[in-house]
Protein backbone atom coordinates (compact mmCIF):
# COMPACT_ATOMS: atom_id res chain seq x y z
CA UNK A 1 0.00 0.00 0.00
CA UNK A 2 1.38 3.41 -0.88
CA UNK A 3 2.35 5.81 1.84
CA UNK A 4 -0.34 8.31 2.68
CA UNK A 5 -0.10 11.99 3.39
CA UNK A 6 -1.82 12.04 6.74
CA UNK A 7 -3.06 15.39 7.93
CA UNK A 8 -0.91 16.30 10.92
CA UNK A 9 -3.63 18.37 12.47
CA UNK A 10 -6.86 17.19 10.98
CA UNK A 11 -9.85 19.33 10.31
CA UNK A 12 -11.88 17.75 13.08
CA UNK A 13 -9.31 18.72 15.70
CA UNK A 14 -8.78 22.20 14.24
CA UNK A 15 -12.48 22.90 14.23
CA UNK A 16 -12.99 21.49 17.71
CA UNK A 17 -10.03 23.44 19.08
CA UNK A 18 -11.55 26.59 17.64
CA UNK A 19 -14.59 25.88 19.78
CA UNK A 20 -12.51 25.12 22.85
CA UNK A 21 -13.02 21.36 22.71
CA UNK A 22 -10.27 18.82 23.30
CA UNK A 23 -9.91 15.30 21.93
CA UNK A 24 -11.63 12.72 24.12
CA UNK A 25 -9.48 10.80 26.54
CA UNK A 26 -8.73 7.12 26.04
CA UNK A 27 -7.30 5.51 22.98
CA UNK A 28 -6.54 1.97 21.87
CA UNK A 29 -8.46 -0.60 23.88
CA UNK A 30 -9.76 2.13 26.22
CA UNK A 31 -11.23 4.20 23.38
CA UNK A 32 -14.66 5.55 24.32
CA UNK A 33 -14.61 3.92 27.75
CA UNK A 34 -15.26 7.08 29.74
CA UNK A 35 -18.26 8.04 27.62
CA UNK A 36 -19.83 4.57 27.58
CA UNK A 37 -19.15 4.00 31.26
CA UNK A 38 -20.76 7.31 32.15
CA UNK A 39 -23.81 6.44 30.06
CA UNK A 40 -24.11 2.92 31.51
CA UNK A 41 -23.71 4.19 35.05
CA UNK A 42 -26.35 6.80 34.29
CA UNK A 43 -28.78 3.96 33.50
CA UNK A 44 -28.38 2.89 37.15
CA UNK A 45 -28.25 6.26 38.86
CA UNK A 46 -29.55 9.02 36.58
CA UNK A 47 -32.91 7.69 35.45
CA UNK A 48 -36.21 7.46 37.30
CA UNK A 49 -35.52 3.76 37.82
CA UNK A 50 -33.13 4.91 40.54
CA UNK A 51 -36.09 5.38 42.87
CA UNK A 52 -37.49 1.97 42.00
CA UNK A 53 -34.20 0.32 42.79
CA UNK A 54 -33.74 2.19 46.02
CA UNK A 55 -37.12 0.84 47.14
CA UNK A 56 -37.19 -2.66 45.65
CA UNK A 57 -33.88 -4.04 46.89
CA UNK A 58 -34.19 -2.97 50.54
CA UNK A 59 -37.84 -4.05 50.46
CA UNK A 60 -36.73 -7.47 49.31
CA UNK A 61 -33.53 -7.99 51.27
CA UNK A 62 -34.42 -6.10 54.44
CA UNK A 63 -38.18 -6.25 54.29
CA UNK A 64 -38.56 -10.02 54.29
CA UNK A 65 -36.70 -10.61 57.59
CA UNK A 66 -38.49 -7.58 59.07
CA UNK A 67 -41.88 -9.02 58.15
CA UNK A 68 -40.93 -12.45 59.52
CA UNK A 69 -39.77 -10.84 62.72
CA UNK A 70 -42.91 -8.72 63.00
CA UNK A 71 -45.06 -11.81 62.53
CA UNK A 72 -43.03 -13.72 65.11
CA UNK A 73 -41.62 -16.26 62.63
CA UNK A 74 -38.04 -15.34 63.64
CA UNK A 75 -37.09 -16.00 67.22
CA UNK A 76 -35.82 -12.85 69.01
CA UNK A 77 -32.38 -14.39 69.64
CA UNK A 78 -31.61 -14.75 65.87
CA UNK A 79 -30.40 -11.46 64.40
CA UNK A 80 -31.67 -10.18 61.02
CA UNK A 81 -28.12 -10.28 59.71
CA UNK A 82 -28.38 -14.05 59.29
CA UNK A 83 -31.09 -13.57 56.70
CA UNK A 84 -29.41 -10.69 54.90
CA UNK A 85 -26.70 -12.85 53.36
CA UNK A 86 -29.06 -15.62 52.29
CA UNK A 87 -31.58 -13.29 50.63
CA UNK A 88 -28.91 -10.99 49.16
CA UNK A 89 -27.20 -13.93 47.41
CA UNK A 90 -30.35 -15.63 46.11
CA UNK A 91 -32.43 -12.55 45.23
CA UNK A 92 -29.31 -10.69 44.10
CA UNK A 93 -28.32 -13.50 41.74
CA UNK A 94 -31.77 -13.67 40.18
CA UNK A 95 -31.84 -9.88 39.91
CA UNK A 96 -28.37 -9.74 38.41
CA UNK A 97 -29.27 -12.27 35.71
CA UNK A 98 -32.46 -10.39 34.83
CA UNK A 99 -30.87 -6.95 34.90
CA UNK A 100 -27.82 -7.91 32.84
CA UNK A 101 -29.53 -10.20 30.30
CA UNK A 102 -30.13 -7.38 27.81
CA UNK A 103 -26.83 -5.60 28.20
CA UNK A 104 -25.19 -7.10 25.14
CA UNK A 105 -27.96 -9.03 23.38
CA UNK A 106 -30.34 -6.09 23.06
CA UNK A 107 -27.60 -3.86 21.71
CA UNK A 108 -26.73 -6.51 19.13
CA UNK A 109 -30.36 -7.11 18.19
CA UNK A 110 -31.38 -3.46 17.98
CA UNK A 111 -28.28 -2.41 16.03
CA UNK A 112 -27.11 0.11 18.63
CA UNK A 113 -23.91 -1.91 19.18
CA UNK A 114 -23.01 -1.43 15.50
CA UNK A 115 -23.77 2.27 15.82
CA UNK A 116 -21.58 2.68 18.92
CA UNK A 117 -18.76 0.66 17.36
CA UNK A 118 -18.75 2.89 14.30
CA UNK A 119 -17.54 5.65 16.66
CA UNK A 120 -14.07 5.68 18.22
CA UNK A 121 -15.18 3.13 20.79
CA UNK A 122 -13.03 0.08 21.44
CA UNK A 123 -14.83 -3.23 21.70
CA UNK A 124 -13.14 -4.00 24.99
CA UNK A 125 -14.37 -0.69 26.37
CA UNK A 126 -17.88 -1.58 25.27
CA UNK A 127 -17.88 -4.79 27.33
CA UNK A 128 -15.89 -3.41 30.27
CA UNK A 129 -18.12 -0.34 30.60
CA UNK A 130 -21.16 -2.59 30.96
CA UNK A 131 -19.45 -4.97 33.32
CA UNK A 132 -18.08 -2.26 35.56
CA UNK A 133 -21.23 -0.13 35.66
CA UNK A 134 -23.40 -3.16 36.46
CA UNK A 135 -20.95 -4.22 39.14
CA UNK A 136 -21.11 -0.75 40.70
CA UNK A 137 -24.90 -0.64 40.41
CA UNK A 138 -25.25 -4.06 42.00
CA UNK A 139 -22.78 -3.15 44.72
CA UNK A 140 -24.71 0.01 45.56
CA UNK A 141 -28.28 -1.26 45.37
CA UNK A 142 -28.01 -4.98 46.21
CA UNK A 143 -25.07 -5.10 48.61
CA UNK A 144 -24.25 -1.75 50.24
CA UNK A 145 -27.68 -0.13 50.70
CA UNK A 146 -29.44 -3.21 52.16
CA UNK A 147 -26.22 -3.96 54.08
CA UNK A 148 -26.31 -0.56 55.79
CA UNK A 149 -29.99 -0.97 56.55
CA UNK A 150 -29.44 -4.46 57.98
CA UNK A 151 -26.73 -3.11 60.26
CA UNK A 152 -29.22 -0.56 61.59
CA UNK A 153 -31.94 -3.25 61.82
CA UNK A 154 -29.59 -5.52 63.75
CA UNK A 155 -28.66 -2.73 66.13
CA UNK A 156 -32.30 -1.85 66.70
CA UNK A 157 -33.28 -5.45 67.46
CA UNK A 158 -30.19 -6.60 69.42
CA UNK A 159 -28.83 -3.24 70.63
CA UNK A 160 -25.43 -4.46 69.49
CA UNK A 161 -23.34 -3.47 66.50
CA UNK A 162 -22.40 -6.35 64.22
CA UNK A 163 -18.59 -6.64 63.88
CA UNK A 164 -17.91 -4.39 60.88
CA UNK A 165 -14.89 -6.00 59.22
CA UNK A 166 -16.27 -9.55 59.13
CA UNK A 167 -19.57 -8.08 57.91
CA UNK A 168 -17.79 -6.28 55.08
CA UNK A 169 -15.92 -9.47 54.19
CA UNK A 170 -19.25 -11.34 54.09
CA UNK A 171 -20.70 -8.61 51.86
CA UNK A 172 -17.63 -9.06 49.65
CA UNK A 173 -18.56 -12.72 49.24
CA UNK A 174 -22.09 -11.69 48.21
CA UNK A 175 -20.56 -9.33 45.67
CA UNK A 176 -18.31 -12.09 44.35
CA UNK A 177 -21.36 -14.28 43.75
CA UNK A 178 -23.04 -11.43 41.87
CA UNK A 179 -19.90 -10.80 39.82
CA UNK A 180 -19.81 -14.46 38.84
CA UNK A 181 -23.32 -14.33 37.41
CA UNK A 182 -22.78 -10.88 35.90
CA UNK A 183 -19.69 -12.01 33.99
CA UNK A 184 -21.44 -15.23 32.97
CA UNK A 185 -24.45 -13.33 31.62
CA UNK A 186 -22.25 -10.84 29.76
CA UNK A 187 -20.32 -13.73 28.21
CA UNK A 188 -23.54 -15.49 27.21
CA UNK A 189 -24.78 -12.20 25.75
CA UNK A 190 -21.69 -12.07 23.58
CA UNK A 191 -22.00 -15.71 22.53
CA UNK A 192 -25.74 -15.89 21.81
CA UNK A 193 -28.09 -13.82 19.70
CA UNK A 194 -31.25 -14.31 21.78
CA UNK A 195 -32.23 -14.30 25.44
CA UNK A 196 -33.52 -17.90 25.52
CA UNK A 197 -30.20 -19.75 25.73
CA UNK A 198 -28.75 -17.01 27.95
CA UNK A 199 -31.47 -17.31 30.58
CA UNK A 200 -31.57 -21.11 30.32
CA UNK A 201 -27.84 -21.42 30.96
CA UNK A 202 -27.61 -18.75 33.66
CA UNK A 203 -30.59 -20.07 35.64
CA UNK A 204 -29.50 -23.61 34.82
CA UNK A 205 -26.17 -22.95 36.53
CA UNK A 206 -27.89 -21.35 39.50
CA UNK A 207 -30.82 -23.69 40.10
CA UNK A 208 -29.56 -26.83 38.37
CA UNK A 209 -26.23 -26.41 40.12
CA UNK A 210 -27.91 -26.38 43.53
CA UNK A 211 -29.77 -29.63 42.79
CA UNK A 212 -26.72 -31.23 41.22
CA UNK A 213 -24.54 -30.24 44.17
CA UNK A 214 -26.83 -32.26 46.45
CA UNK A 215 -25.88 -35.43 44.53
CA UNK A 216 -22.37 -34.40 43.50
CA UNK A 217 -20.79 -32.36 46.30
CA UNK A 218 -17.66 -31.91 44.13
CA UNK A 219 -19.59 -29.25 42.21
CA UNK A 220 -19.38 -27.15 45.36
CA UNK A 221 -15.61 -27.00 44.96
CA UNK A 222 -16.00 -25.21 41.60
CA UNK A 223 -19.34 -23.40 41.26
CA UNK A 224 -20.79 -20.79 43.67
CA UNK A 225 -23.50 -23.06 45.01
CA UNK A 226 -23.32 -22.09 48.68
CA UNK A 227 -22.19 -18.48 48.64
CA UNK A 228 -25.07 -17.55 50.98
CA UNK A 229 -23.72 -19.94 53.61
CA UNK A 230 -20.10 -18.93 52.99
CA UNK A 231 -20.86 -15.20 53.22
CA UNK A 232 -22.63 -15.72 56.53
CA UNK A 233 -19.76 -17.81 57.93
CA UNK A 234 -17.30 -15.11 56.87
CA UNK A 235 -19.47 -12.42 58.48
CA UNK A 236 -19.64 -14.44 61.69
CA UNK A 237 -15.89 -14.95 61.61
CA UNK A 238 -16.16 -18.71 61.38
CA UNK A 239 -13.39 -20.76 59.72
CA UNK A 240 -14.22 -22.04 56.22
CA UNK A 241 -13.94 -25.68 55.19
CA UNK A 242 -11.62 -26.48 52.27
CA UNK A 243 -14.53 -26.97 49.86
CA UNK A 244 -15.78 -23.44 50.58
CA UNK A 245 -12.34 -21.89 50.20
CA UNK A 246 -12.03 -23.72 46.89
CA UNK A 247 -15.47 -22.42 45.88
CA UNK A 248 -14.43 -18.84 46.63
CA UNK A 249 -11.22 -19.12 44.64
CA UNK A 250 -12.91 -20.94 41.78
CA UNK A 251 -15.72 -18.34 41.63
CA UNK A 252 -13.20 -15.52 41.39
CA UNK A 253 -11.14 -17.34 38.75
CA UNK A 254 -14.21 -18.25 36.71
CA UNK A 255 -15.48 -14.65 36.84
CA UNK A 256 -12.18 -13.43 35.43
CA UNK A 257 -12.18 -16.21 32.85
CA UNK A 258 -15.72 -15.41 31.70
CA UNK A 259 -14.74 -11.75 31.34
CA UNK A 260 -11.61 -12.56 29.33
CA UNK A 261 -13.49 -14.92 27.01
CA UNK A 262 -16.26 -12.32 26.56
CA UNK A 263 -13.66 -9.68 25.65
CA UNK A 264 -11.92 -12.03 23.24
CA UNK A 265 -15.09 -13.23 21.54
CA UNK A 266 -16.53 -9.73 21.25
CA UNK A 267 -13.33 -8.58 19.59
CA UNK A 268 -14.07 -10.96 16.70
CA UNK A 269 -17.80 -10.37 16.52
CA UNK A 270 -19.19 -9.05 13.23
CA UNK A 271 -21.90 -6.39 13.03
Amino acid sequence: MTAQTHPQITRDLRMAARQGLLPARGSGWLGGFENMFRKELGEWFRTRRWWGRILIWPALINGIPAIFRATGQIPPEIPDILYYFQIAVIAGTIGMIILAQDEVIQEKQSGTAAWILSKPAARRSFILSKLLSDAIGALAFIVVLPGLIILVQTYLTTHQMAPLLPFLAGAGVVMLALLFYLSLVILLGVLFESRGPLLAIAFGVMIGGMFAAASFPQIGYVLPMSMDKISLMVALGQPLPTADVSQLISTAVLSILFTLVALWRFQHKEF
Binding site: M1, T2, A3, Q4, T5, H6, P7, Q8, T10, R11, D12, M15, A16, Q19, G20, L21, L22, P23, A24, R25, S27, G28, G31, G32, E34, N35, R38, K39, S110, G111, T112, A114, W115, L117, S118, K119, P120, A121, A122, H268, E270, F271
Partner: protein
Protein backbone atom coordinates in the same frame (compact mmCIF):
# COMPACT_ATOMS: atom_id res chain seq x y z
CA UNK B 1 -0.13 19.20 2.97
CA UNK B 2 -1.16 18.82 -0.63
CA UNK B 3 -4.85 18.23 -0.25
CA UNK B 4 -5.69 17.77 -3.90
CA UNK B 5 -3.97 14.45 -4.36
CA UNK B 6 -4.14 12.96 -0.88
CA UNK B 7 -5.80 9.60 -0.74
CA UNK B 8 -8.42 9.26 1.94
CA UNK B 9 -9.44 5.66 1.30
CA UNK B 10 -7.29 3.03 -0.32
CA UNK B 11 -8.22 -0.64 -0.60
CA UNK B 12 -6.18 -3.44 -2.09
CA UNK B 13 -7.78 -6.74 -3.07
CA UNK B 14 -10.24 -6.35 -0.22
CA UNK B 15 -12.39 -9.48 0.01
CA UNK B 16 -15.09 -10.82 2.28
CA UNK B 17 -16.58 -14.29 2.34
CA UNK B 18 -19.57 -15.32 4.46
CA UNK B 19 -19.51 -19.10 4.80
CA UNK B 20 -20.00 -20.11 1.16
CA UNK B 21 -21.02 -16.72 -0.21
CA UNK B 22 -18.43 -14.35 -1.67
CA UNK B 23 -19.73 -10.90 -0.69
CA UNK B 24 -16.75 -8.92 -1.94
CA UNK B 25 -13.95 -9.96 -4.28
CA UNK B 26 -10.59 -8.24 -4.65
CA UNK B 27 -11.85 -4.70 -4.33
CA UNK B 28 -9.12 -2.18 -5.12
CA UNK B 29 -10.15 1.44 -5.14
CA UNK B 30 -8.94 4.87 -4.12
CA UNK B 31 -10.87 7.87 -2.90
CA UNK B 32 -9.24 11.27 -3.13
CA UNK B 33 -9.58 14.03 -0.58
CA UNK B 34 -12.55 16.38 -0.94
CA UNK B 35 -14.32 14.25 -3.47
CA UNK B 36 -17.91 13.08 -3.33
CA UNK B 37 -17.47 9.45 -4.19
CA UNK B 38 -20.61 7.60 -5.26
CA UNK B 39 -20.48 3.89 -4.62
CA UNK B 40 -23.05 2.29 -6.89
CA UNK B 41 -24.43 -1.15 -7.26
CA UNK B 42 -27.61 -3.17 -7.25
CA UNK B 43 -28.88 -4.63 -3.96
CA UNK B 44 -26.51 -7.27 -2.65
CA UNK B 45 -23.59 -5.96 -4.71
CA UNK B 46 -21.38 -5.62 -1.63
CA UNK B 47 -21.68 -1.89 -0.92
CA UNK B 48 -22.64 -2.17 2.75
CA UNK B 49 -20.09 -4.96 3.21
CA UNK B 50 -17.36 -2.63 1.94
CA UNK B 51 -18.47 0.15 4.28
CA UNK B 52 -18.56 -2.21 7.27
CA UNK B 53 -15.07 -3.42 6.39
CA UNK B 54 -13.82 0.16 6.26
CA UNK B 55 -15.29 0.85 9.71
CA UNK B 56 -13.94 -2.35 11.25
CA UNK B 57 -17.43 -3.68 11.95
CA UNK B 58 -16.56 -6.87 10.06
CA UNK B 59 -13.23 -8.48 9.33
CA UNK B 60 -11.91 -8.98 5.78
CA UNK B 61 -11.27 -12.49 4.48
CA UNK B 62 -8.44 -11.11 2.36
CA UNK B 63 -6.72 -7.95 1.21
CA UNK B 64 -6.35 -4.72 3.13
CA UNK B 65 -7.66 -1.22 3.40
CA UNK B 66 -6.53 2.04 4.91
CA UNK B 67 -8.20 5.33 5.73
CA UNK B 68 -5.97 8.38 6.17
CA UNK B 69 -3.08 5.92 6.17
CA UNK B 70 -4.45 3.98 9.16
CA UNK B 71 -5.02 0.28 8.68
CA UNK B 72 -8.75 -0.31 9.09
CA UNK B 73 -8.21 -3.58 10.91
CA UNK B 74 -5.32 -2.85 13.25
CA UNK B 75 -6.02 0.86 13.83
CA UNK B 76 -9.76 0.87 13.61
CA UNK B 77 -10.34 3.20 16.57
CA UNK B 78 -7.92 5.75 15.04
CA UNK B 79 -9.75 5.48 11.72
CA UNK B 80 -13.11 6.08 13.37
CA UNK B 81 -11.82 9.23 15.09
CA UNK B 82 -11.75 10.92 11.67
CA UNK B 83 -14.90 9.43 10.22
CA UNK B 84 -18.57 10.27 10.45
CA UNK B 85 -20.85 7.36 9.58
CA UNK B 86 -24.51 7.08 8.76
CA UNK B 87 -25.80 3.51 8.52
CA UNK B 88 -28.38 2.39 5.99
CA UNK B 89 -30.90 1.75 8.75
CA UNK B 90 -29.60 3.84 11.63
CA UNK B 91 -30.50 2.66 15.15
CA UNK B 92 -30.20 4.64 18.34
CA UNK B 93 -31.22 4.31 21.97
CA UNK B 94 -34.94 4.87 21.55
CA UNK B 95 -35.51 6.40 24.98
CA UNK B 96 -32.92 9.12 24.38
CA UNK B 97 -33.74 12.45 22.78
CA UNK B 98 -32.04 13.61 19.58
CA UNK B 99 -30.03 16.09 21.64
CA UNK B 100 -28.87 13.33 24.00
CA UNK B 101 -27.95 11.06 21.09
CA UNK B 102 -25.85 13.76 19.44
CA UNK B 103 -24.29 14.74 22.77
CA UNK B 104 -23.42 11.13 23.50
CA UNK B 105 -21.87 10.80 20.04
CA UNK B 106 -19.93 14.04 20.49
CA UNK B 107 -18.34 12.79 23.72
CA UNK B 108 -16.74 9.89 21.83
CA UNK B 109 -14.68 12.54 20.09
CA UNK B 110 -14.38 15.49 22.42
CA UNK B 111 -14.18 16.59 25.98
CA UNK B 112 -14.38 20.09 27.30
CA UNK B 113 -16.71 22.47 29.07
CA UNK B 114 -20.31 21.27 29.02
CA UNK B 115 -21.62 24.49 27.47
CA UNK B 116 -19.18 24.23 24.56
CA UNK B 117 -20.19 20.64 23.87
CA UNK B 118 -23.84 21.66 24.05
CA UNK B 119 -23.16 24.52 21.65
CA UNK B 120 -21.69 22.09 19.12
CA UNK B 121 -24.69 19.79 19.54
CA UNK B 122 -27.04 22.71 18.94
CA UNK B 123 -25.05 23.65 15.84
CA UNK B 124 -25.55 20.27 14.17
CA UNK B 125 -29.19 20.15 15.25
CA UNK B 126 -29.68 23.41 13.37
CA UNK B 127 -27.60 22.14 10.43
CA UNK B 128 -30.11 19.34 9.81
CA UNK B 129 -33.19 21.33 10.84
CA UNK B 130 -34.19 19.28 13.87
CA UNK B 131 -34.66 22.19 16.28
CA UNK B 132 -38.33 21.39 16.92
CA UNK B 133 -37.71 17.72 17.64
CA UNK B 134 -34.40 17.93 19.46
CA UNK B 135 -35.79 17.23 22.91
CA UNK B 136 -38.20 14.45 21.99
CA UNK B 137 -37.35 10.76 22.39
CA UNK B 138 -36.11 9.19 19.17
CA UNK B 139 -38.77 6.45 19.37
CA UNK B 140 -41.35 8.85 17.90
CA UNK B 141 -39.22 9.96 14.96
CA UNK B 142 -40.26 9.44 11.32
CA UNK B 143 -37.88 7.92 8.77
CA UNK B 144 -36.87 11.33 7.49
CA UNK B 145 -36.23 12.67 10.99
CA UNK B 146 -34.11 9.65 11.83
CA UNK B 147 -32.08 10.26 8.71
CA UNK B 148 -31.55 13.90 9.66
CA UNK B 149 -30.49 12.79 13.11
CA UNK B 150 -28.18 10.29 11.42
CA UNK B 151 -26.51 13.02 9.43
CA UNK B 152 -26.27 15.22 12.53
CA UNK B 153 -24.55 12.55 14.61
CA UNK B 154 -22.27 11.68 11.68
CA UNK B 155 -21.29 15.31 11.33
CA UNK B 156 -20.82 16.25 14.98
CA UNK B 157 -17.05 15.59 14.95
CA UNK B 158 -16.34 17.67 11.81
CA UNK B 159 -15.27 14.43 10.14
CA UNK B 160 -12.52 14.44 7.55
CA UNK B 161 -14.42 11.64 5.89
CA UNK B 162 -18.17 11.13 5.87
CA UNK B 163 -19.35 7.61 5.05
CA UNK B 164 -23.03 7.37 4.22
CA UNK B 165 -24.71 4.07 3.46
CA UNK B 166 -27.75 4.67 1.26
CA UNK B 167 -28.44 8.05 2.85
CA UNK B 168 -31.53 8.80 0.78
CA UNK B 169 -32.93 5.33 0.15
CA UNK B 170 -35.78 5.47 2.66
CA UNK B 171 -36.74 9.08 2.08
CA UNK B 172 -39.50 10.79 0.14
CA UNK B 173 -38.46 13.22 -2.65
CA UNK B 174 -38.37 16.16 -0.23
CA UNK B 175 -36.24 14.25 2.26
CA UNK B 176 -33.92 13.15 -0.53
CA UNK B 177 -33.59 16.71 -1.73
CA UNK B 178 -32.68 17.83 1.81
CA UNK B 179 -30.06 15.11 2.22
CA UNK B 180 -28.43 15.93 -1.11
CA UNK B 181 -28.43 19.59 -0.21
CA UNK B 182 -26.64 18.86 3.08
CA UNK B 183 -24.10 16.73 1.18
CA UNK B 184 -23.46 19.52 -1.30
CA UNK B 185 -23.06 21.99 1.55
CA UNK B 186 -20.50 19.72 3.21
CA UNK B 187 -18.44 18.94 0.12
CA UNK B 188 -16.07 21.88 0.61
CA UNK B 189 -15.16 20.70 4.11
CA UNK B 190 -14.97 16.96 3.86
CA UNK B 191 -14.64 13.90 1.68
CA UNK B 192 -17.91 12.04 1.22
CA UNK B 193 -18.04 8.35 0.41
CA UNK B 194 -21.58 7.16 -0.02
CA UNK B 195 -23.34 4.14 -1.36
CA UNK B 196 -26.59 4.33 -3.24
CA UNK B 197 -28.67 2.82 -5.95
CA UNK B 198 -30.41 6.10 -6.80
CA UNK B 199 -28.53 7.02 -9.95
CA UNK B 200 -30.12 10.43 -10.34
CA UNK B 201 -28.64 11.51 -6.99
CA UNK B 202 -25.20 10.29 -7.97
CA UNK B 203 -25.24 12.19 -11.22
CA UNK B 204 -26.29 15.30 -9.32
CA UNK B 205 -23.70 15.41 -6.57
CA UNK B 206 -20.83 12.98 -7.18
CA UNK B 207 -17.56 13.76 -8.87
CA UNK B 208 -16.24 10.19 -8.85
CA UNK B 209 -18.14 6.94 -9.18
CA UNK B 210 -17.41 3.28 -8.61
CA UNK B 211 -19.77 0.55 -9.75
CA UNK B 212 -19.92 -2.70 -7.89
CA UNK B 213 -21.70 -5.81 -9.08
CA UNK B 214 -21.83 -9.19 -7.37
CA UNK B 215 -19.00 -8.15 -5.09
CA UNK B 216 -16.70 -7.06 -7.93
CA UNK B 217 -15.66 -3.58 -8.97
CA UNK B 218 -16.61 -3.15 -12.62
CA UNK B 219 -15.83 0.55 -13.04
CA UNK B 220 -14.21 3.42 -11.19
CA UNK B 221 -13.86 6.81 -12.85
CA UNK B 222 -14.65 10.51 -12.59
CA UNK B 223 -18.32 10.85 -13.44
CA UNK B 224 -17.81 13.02 -16.55
CA UNK B 225 -15.40 10.43 -17.97
CA UNK B 226 -17.83 7.64 -17.24
CA UNK B 227 -20.68 9.49 -18.91
CA UNK B 228 -18.56 10.27 -21.99
CA UNK B 229 -18.23 6.57 -22.79
CA UNK B 230 -15.70 3.91 -22.06
CA UNK B 231 -12.07 4.40 -23.02
CA UNK B 232 -11.39 5.75 -26.53
CA UNK B 233 -14.68 4.77 -28.11
CA UNK B 234 -17.41 7.33 -28.61
CA UNK B 235 -20.57 8.05 -30.55
CA UNK B 236 -21.12 11.24 -32.56
CA UNK B 237 -24.43 12.73 -33.59
CA UNK B 238 -24.23 14.77 -36.80
CA UNK B 239 -27.08 16.59 -38.55
CA UNK B 240 -26.44 17.54 -42.18
CA UNK B 241 -28.20 19.56 -44.78
CA UNK B 242 -27.18 19.10 -48.39
CA UNK B 243 -28.88 19.19 -51.76
CA UNK B 244 -26.51 16.99 -53.75
CA UNK B 245 -26.75 13.26 -53.27
CA UNK B 246 -23.26 12.88 -54.67
CA UNK B 247 -21.78 15.20 -52.04
CA UNK B 248 -23.42 13.17 -49.31
CA UNK B 249 -22.23 9.84 -50.70
CA UNK B 250 -18.72 11.22 -51.05
CA UNK B 251 -18.65 12.44 -47.45
CA UNK B 252 -19.98 9.13 -46.22
CA UNK B 253 -17.31 7.15 -48.05
CA UNK B 254 -14.57 9.47 -46.74
CA UNK B 255 -15.77 8.95 -43.18
CA UNK B 256 -16.32 5.19 -43.49
CA UNK B 257 -12.87 4.89 -45.04
CA UNK B 258 -11.20 5.87 -41.78
CA UNK B 259 -9.75 3.01 -39.75
CA UNK B 260 -11.11 4.46 -36.49
CA UNK B 261 -14.70 4.59 -37.72
CA UNK B 262 -16.60 1.57 -36.54
CA UNK B 263 -20.05 2.17 -37.89
CA UNK B 264 -22.13 4.87 -39.55
CA UNK B 265 -25.90 4.81 -39.54
CA UNK B 266 -28.07 7.31 -41.36
CA UNK B 267 -31.68 8.48 -41.05
CA UNK B 268 -33.43 11.15 -43.09
CA UNK B 269 -36.33 13.30 -42.09
CA UNK B 270 -37.76 16.16 -44.12
CA UNK B 271 -34.54 16.95 -45.94
CA UNK B 272 -32.53 16.69 -42.79
CA UNK B 273 -29.96 13.92 -42.59
CA UNK B 274 -28.89 12.47 -39.27
CA UNK B 275 -25.75 10.43 -38.93
CA UNK B 276 -24.65 8.44 -35.93
CA UNK B 277 -20.97 7.62 -36.18
CA UNK B 278 -19.39 5.26 -33.70
CA UNK B 279 -15.63 5.51 -33.47
CA UNK B 280 -12.88 3.60 -31.70
CA UNK B 281 -10.58 6.61 -31.30
CA UNK B 282 -12.32 9.68 -29.89
CA UNK B 283 -9.21 11.85 -30.26
CA UNK B 284 -8.92 11.16 -33.96
CA UNK B 285 -12.63 11.75 -34.38
CA UNK B 286 -12.49 15.11 -32.57
CA UNK B 287 -9.65 16.08 -34.91
CA UNK B 288 -10.80 14.80 -38.28
CA UNK B 289 -14.46 13.85 -38.42
CA UNK B 290 -15.91 17.30 -39.04
CA UNK B 291 -13.15 18.22 -41.50
CA UNK B 292 -13.77 15.07 -43.53
CA UNK B 293 -17.43 15.95 -43.90
CA UNK B 294 -16.84 19.59 -44.73
CA UNK B 295 -14.31 18.85 -47.46
CA UNK B 296 -17.26 19.20 -49.80
CA UNK B 297 -18.46 22.77 -49.39
CA UNK B 298 -21.96 22.01 -50.58
CA UNK B 299 -22.69 20.19 -47.36
CA UNK B 300 -23.82 22.08 -44.29
CA UNK B 301 -23.47 20.71 -40.77
CA UNK B 302 -26.30 21.88 -38.54
CA UNK B 303 -25.24 19.90 -35.48
CA UNK B 304 -22.11 18.08 -34.48
CA UNK B 305 -21.65 16.61 -31.02
CA UNK B 306 -20.40 13.71 -29.04
CA UNK B 307 -23.24 11.76 -27.53
CA UNK B 308 -23.27 11.87 -23.73
CA UNK B 309 -24.90 9.12 -21.72
CA UNK B 310 -26.80 9.44 -18.55
CA UNK B 311 -25.64 7.43 -15.61
CA UNK B 312 -28.55 5.06 -15.78
CA UNK B 313 -27.59 4.02 -19.34
CA UNK B 314 -23.98 3.50 -18.35
CA UNK B 315 -24.89 1.66 -15.19
CA UNK B 316 -27.40 -0.68 -16.81
CA UNK B 317 -25.10 -1.40 -19.74
CA UNK B 318 -22.23 -2.26 -17.44
CA UNK B 319 -24.32 -4.42 -15.14
CA UNK B 320 -25.91 -6.26 -18.09
CA UNK B 321 -22.53 -6.79 -19.74
CA UNK B 322 -21.12 -8.10 -16.46
CA UNK B 323 -24.08 -10.37 -15.75
CA UNK B 324 -23.94 -11.93 -19.22
CA UNK B 325 -20.33 -13.05 -18.71
Amino acid sequence: MDTSNSLVIETQNLSKTYKEAQALTDLSLTVKQNSIFGFLGPNGAGKSTTIKLLLGLIQPSGGRASIFGYDVQRQSVEVRKHVGYLAQDPRYYEHMTARQIIGYTARFFYRGPKDLLEARVQEVIELVGLEDKADRPVRGFSGGERQRLGIAQAQVNYPDLLILDEPAAALDPMGRHDVLEVMERLRKYTTIFYSTHILEDVQRVSDTVAILNRGRLIAEAPIDKLLAGDGGSALYDITLKGEAEAALTGARSRVEGQPWVQHLSMTTDDGQIDWQVSVTDATAAEDLLLRLILEDRSLKVKHFGRKTYNLEEVFLEMIEKENSK
